[in-house]
């Protein structure tokens, strides 16, 4: 047995011994663990699972050990992912710190910043939110206006963010601010600060899907120490774009994450439309379902190929925009198809007349509409592909 095979065997045994059985079932959204100063564990098993994974540092298996990571090689973390997938283990910790901030801090942070921020992210002790969008700066993000003025030994932040996911529950924010008003992209900086700093206020906004997880976020004379600037002053745009690539990669995977609660479309179709002779009973929907399933398979293969290409150093770029675009459009189509299959049973908003899965389908269908907006809209992804990959003129 070579080293990797031994690692696989050890990992498998560890997971089998340590992952509670209820953590191997599809995860309802409310059971997600986000960590933070006031962590919530709807299901007691998820605390056990979270604690054990944190102790292994497998919430961030590939981060360096000195910053609280598991220190696994690329191959080892792939194996860990495969073994978790095999057992259908739930993701132990959801975190914008892990999926978005961490990778850019590792690259742009000072040793002090890394030592201060990365270990608490790895242990799920602090929850982060993303302060990018503003009322006047969405797709045209670089037109953002939130000011950070240099006051000698600190920055003074004033302005407003919007659509800030989980701002009302977050402990810290990574925030794009304007530090030079005379230029556009070259006048943006990347700041980190505590959401309990005086002058920070959040107001949740109700969504079409009923929840209210994103907020308007206001900053009034917020004092931010200077060592909380990441990268160079006015050098925030490059960091912002890199972070977006990580975010897009993550959103693209939406709907295919391990532990998703919605069953495959074909099962929903069979359940609601019938399957005499083993065939989904509505020929038009059967064709739509199979086409969608085939595109999913083709998309999965493309993700796999891109991973192999990037490992071999032959990646062609533009991949994250393609994945963000295609993955989110697929997820939206999936819910449109599921809604068609479920028929009027999918139209319930609340109440006992509908079962929980049906209510969840309706809410998730509505929520899926945000996938092609958050993290840069589908139209913006197509713009990026046209510009960066196809090199079409402006």
């Amino acid at each position: 047995m070579n080293a990797l095979e031994r690692f696989r065997a050890k990992t498998r045994t560890w997971l089998e011994e340590n992952c509670p059985l209820s953590m191997r079932t599809p995860m309802p959204e409310e059971e997600r663990v986000w960590g933070g100063r006031q962590p919530k564990f709807e299901n007691p098993d998820s605390k056990i699972w979270f604690d054990r994974m944190v102790a292994q540092a497998w919430t961030v298996p590939a981060w360096p050990k000195e910053y609280g990571g598991g220190g696994l090689s690329r191959e080892e973390s792939i194996i860990l992912g495969e073994e978790m997938g095999r057992l259908k283990c739930r993701v132990p910790l959801f975190s914008f710190g892990i999926s978005m901030l961490g990778p850019v801090l590792l690259k742009y942070g000072t040793p002090e910043q890394k030592a201060k921020h990365l270990p608490p992210i790895a242990r799920g002790e602090l929850r982060w939110c993303q302060g990018y969008s503003e009322p006047g700066a969405g797709s045209d993000l670089a037109s953002l206006k939130t000011r950070a003025e240099d006051k000698g030994n600190h920055y003074l932040v004033n302005g407003q963010k919007v659509w800030t996911s989980y701002a009302h529950l977050a402990d810290w924010i990574f925030c794009l601010v304007r530090t030079d008003t005379t230029t556009k992209h070259a006048g943006i900086s990347f700041l980190l600060f505590d959401m309990t700093t005086p002058g920070v206020e959040t107001r949740p906004i109700a969504l079409i899907s009923g929840g209210s997880f994103f907020c308007e976020t206001f900053f009034e004379d917020v004092i931010v120490p200077k060592d909380q600037l990441v990268g160079k002053l006015n050098g925030g745009w490059d960091i912002a774009k890199q972070l977006l690539q990580h975010e897009r990669g993550m959103i693209a995977q939406i709907g295919r994450a391990i532990g998703g609660k919605v069953p495959p479309v074909y099962k929903v179709a069979k359940k609601y439309l019938g399957d005499e002779n083993g065939k989904i009973d509505d020929p038009a929907l059967r064709d739509a379902v199979v086409q969608h399933t085939m595109n999913d398979r083709a998309f999965d293969l493309t993700i796999k190929r891109a991973a192999q290409e990037s490992e071999a150093g032959t990646a062609s770029g533009g991949a994250s925009s393609m994945f963000k675009f295609y993955g989110t459009e697929q997820n939206k189509k999936k819910f449109e198809l599921i809604m068609k299959c479920v028929g009027t049973n999918g139209l319930g908003w609340e109440g006992d007349e509908f079962d929980d899965d049906e209510l969840m389908i309706c809410r998730t269908w509505l929520r899926s509409k945000g996938n092609s907006i958050e993290g840069g809209t589908s139209e913006i992804q197509l713009n990026v592909i046209a510009k960066r990959v196809l090199e079409l003129p402006d």
Partner: protein
Amino acid sequence: MSLLLNEEQTLLKDYTHSFFGEKLPISALRALRDGKNETGFDRDLWRQMAEMGWAGVLLPETYGGVDFGYKGLGQVLEESGRTLAATPLVSTVLLSAPLVLEVGSDAQKQNILPAIVSGDLILALALEETPRHTPANTALHAEADSDGYILNGAKTFVLDGHIADQLIVVTRTSGAPGDVDGLSMFLVDGGANGLTRKRTTLVDSRNAANLTFNNVRVEPDALLGPVDRAYGALEAVLDGARIGLAAEMLGSGLEAFKRTIEYLKIREQFGVPIGSFQALKHRAALMFCELELTKSTVLEALTALDEKRSDVPQLASLAKAKACEMIELVTNEAVQMHGGIGMTDEEEIGFFMKRARVAQQTFGDAGFHRDRYATLMGF
């Protein structure tokens, strides 16, 4: 399970790219068409390709082949698709050679395979009888008597049917059209008595023929494979051909797309390149996604063939369906984005659309393969 090419496969791809670009550009197809060339392809060039081992790509060394596998052949096919090269790759290399290798008797293999490898023998598979691909619907009747078999019926859309030296004819020896049991295959000489071959002039200017069998008599040793049980081997070989054809279509799609993007950069209207218009940019980006997805399915399917995996049938349908959807989109958009020029015979972009529609119909279109995939997956 790598979806990447190894060094040898990359070299082969690069080499075939320049070969087809130099020897068989689209102008060669145009010349065959305009010259009303009887054979519809260039036999000397085919011998050259055979010398480089392409005719024997899938065959073992025992028969002179190079045993380079489907992933290697896929690269040749993809590059041939870029220039729409007319060759017997599909009829002879993808369909007939593996069929003979799989179910042929020792004598049949010895007679046929080395001659395929050398480029001397062209074979065609006579399968279709109806306008839409449905292999089990075979009705062409083969009646056994004391001296062998007598064949009666008709075949259509036989690729390279009029130039083939020999035909592999799928016949019904029992059961009724629609049954998968009761099919048998025979080797029939291209010049057999009672066989009439008529070339059909198709929109893609490539080779296909209608055949009629009027009491065509064959010896008992003309039987290829078992009596009544041809379907399994036939389907397996058809899957290889579907995947190979998807590779060819991928090449055509990539090339038509590349030409279109180039045109978007040079053609100016309203004082700017038309590629600066977002309506066209977004559609171009959509095509890019479809091409990337198709490429992944083709590579996975080729790999599965080489690994003799059990999911080859699903992957064949996946790759062929994606290739059909992709090429319809890309060729339609290519013509549209070229404007009036795109409608002219002089501009080559139209050739891609014409070839695409024939390739789409060959061995099942997107609808056929979606239905098949659904059935295989139990949907």
